[in-house]
C-alpha cells in the first residue's frame, strides 16, 4: 500500500481514486458514444434515409460500377463523400451541418429542384476532390499498384500520361457514379453556355458570358 501511495500523483489524491476511475470510464463512454454517433451518420442507410438522396443520386448510382459489378465489391456513399482521416472527416462533418439546414429548408426536395442545383452541387464535389487529390478515390485505387497490362488499351495509354501531367482522378472521371449536370459540349444549342467540363487543364467553372468566345476560339 505504501509504494502505491508514493506513486499516486497529488491531484489524484485530491479528487480521490474513485473519481479518477469514474472520469476515465465516463471518457470511454463519451468517446465511444461520439464515435458511435459519427459512424451511425456515416452509413449508406443514413444517407438515403432522406428522400433527396434516395430519389436522385442513389437511384442513378445503382446503375454504375461502384454499386454493382462482377466481384460484388462496392463503395457506399461515405466511401467517396466522407474523408477517412480523422481531421478532414471532422471538417467535412461540420460542413455537413449546412446540408442539414438545406434539408430543413427543402432546397432540393424534388427531382426538379435537385436538377436545377445539380451543376452547383457537382462542382462543389469536384472542387473538394480536386483539392485533396481525389483522396477518396485513392483510398482504394492506388496508381502505384495499377497493372497496365490488365487495363483496356485506352486506360493503359491514358493513365500514365495523365499521372505524368500531374492530373488527379476527378479531372477525367467525372460523372462516373452520378449523372452529370448539363455540360456544354458544343452540340446544337441544347447546353450552350452550361458548365464547361475540365479535364485537368483548367478549373471547372460555369462558362461565363465573357469566357465563352474565348473557349470557342480555343477549339478552332
Amino acid at each position: 500500500m505504501m509504494s502505491l501511495d508514493k506513486f499516486t500523483p497529488a491531484w489524484v489524491k485530491r479528487i480521490g481514486l474513485a473519481t479518477v476511475a469514474g472520469l476515465f470510464i465516463a471518457g470511454i463512454v463519451f468517446w465511444g458514444g461520439f464515435n458511435w454517433a459519427l459512424e451511425a451518420t456515416n452509413k449508406e442507410s443514413f444517407c438515403i434515409g432522406c428522400h433527396e438522396m434516395e430519389e436522385n443520386v442513389f437511384k442513378e448510382y445503382q446503375n454504375t460500377i461502384h454499386y454493382t459489378n462482377r466481384t460484388g465489391v462496392r463503395a457506399t456513399c461515405p466511401d467517396c463523400h466522407v474523408p477517412k482521416e480523422w481531421g478532414p472527416k471532422m471538417i467535412r462533418k461540420i460542413q455537413a451541418s449546412n446540408e442539414v439546414l438545406h434539408k430543413i429548408l427543402g432546397t432540393i426536395d424534388t427531382p426538379e429542384k435537385f436538377n436545377a442545383k445539380r451543376g452547383q452541387l457537382a462542382q462543389n464535389e469536384w472542387k473538394r476532390m480536386k483539392a485533396n487529390d481525389s483522396q477518396e478515390c485513392r483510398n482504394c485505387h492506388r496508381y502505384d499498384y495499377m497493372d497496365y497490362t490488365e487495363q483496356g488499351n485506352r486506360a493503359a495509354r491514358t493513365h500514365p500520361q495523365a499521372f505524368t501531367d500531374g492530373k488527379t482522378c476527378i479531372d477525367c472521371h467525372k460523372g462516373i457514379a452520378h449523372q452529370l449536370p448539363a455540360i456544354d459540349q458544343h452540340i446544337g444549342k441544347q447546353n450552350d453556355g452550361a458548365v464547361a467540363i475540365s479535364h485537368g487543364e483548367k478549373p471547372a467553372e460555369p462558362a461565363k458570358e465573357e469566357a465563352k468566345p474565348e473557349a470557342k476560339a480555343e477549339s478552332k
Partner: protein
Amino acid sequence: MRFIPALALAAAVLLSGVGSVGAQELVNEIGNVTIEGNSKIDMFRPEKDQETIPRNFQKQPPLIPHSIKGYNITQNFNKCMDCHSKERAEETGATKVAKSHYLDREDKKQSNISPRRYFCMQCHVPQFDAKPLVANTYKPAAKRGE
C-alpha cells in the same frame, strides 16, 4: 369472317385475366425460347477493346472498337463526345467526329455538331460476340480504281 377478330379479342380479354399464364407462353424475338428460359448469364458479351476496325464499305459509320459500358448519352451529357469531339480528339487519340456531323438537314455547315447526330449509337455500334442470325455472303464493292 368478321367474327374472328371479335373472337380473338374476347379470348385476349379472357387471357389477360390470367396474365401470368399468358406470359409464360410468350416467346422472345430471338427464337423459340420462353422469356423465363432466356437466362441473363448466356447473353452476349462485349468484345475486348481493339484497334480501329476497318470499314466494310464506303461511308460505313465506323464501328465502335471498345467497351461502352456505363457510357451514357443523356440530355445533359454525351459521353462519346468527351473523347471524340474535335476539341478532345487530339488529346485522347480518339477518332474525330466527321465533318458530316456538322451539317444540318439543309446541308448547311454549323459551328456546332448537329443535334440530329446526338445519338451516336443509332449508326455506330459496339461489338459483341453474337453470331450472325442469318448467314450472308455480302462482299464490299471494289474500291475506286481497283
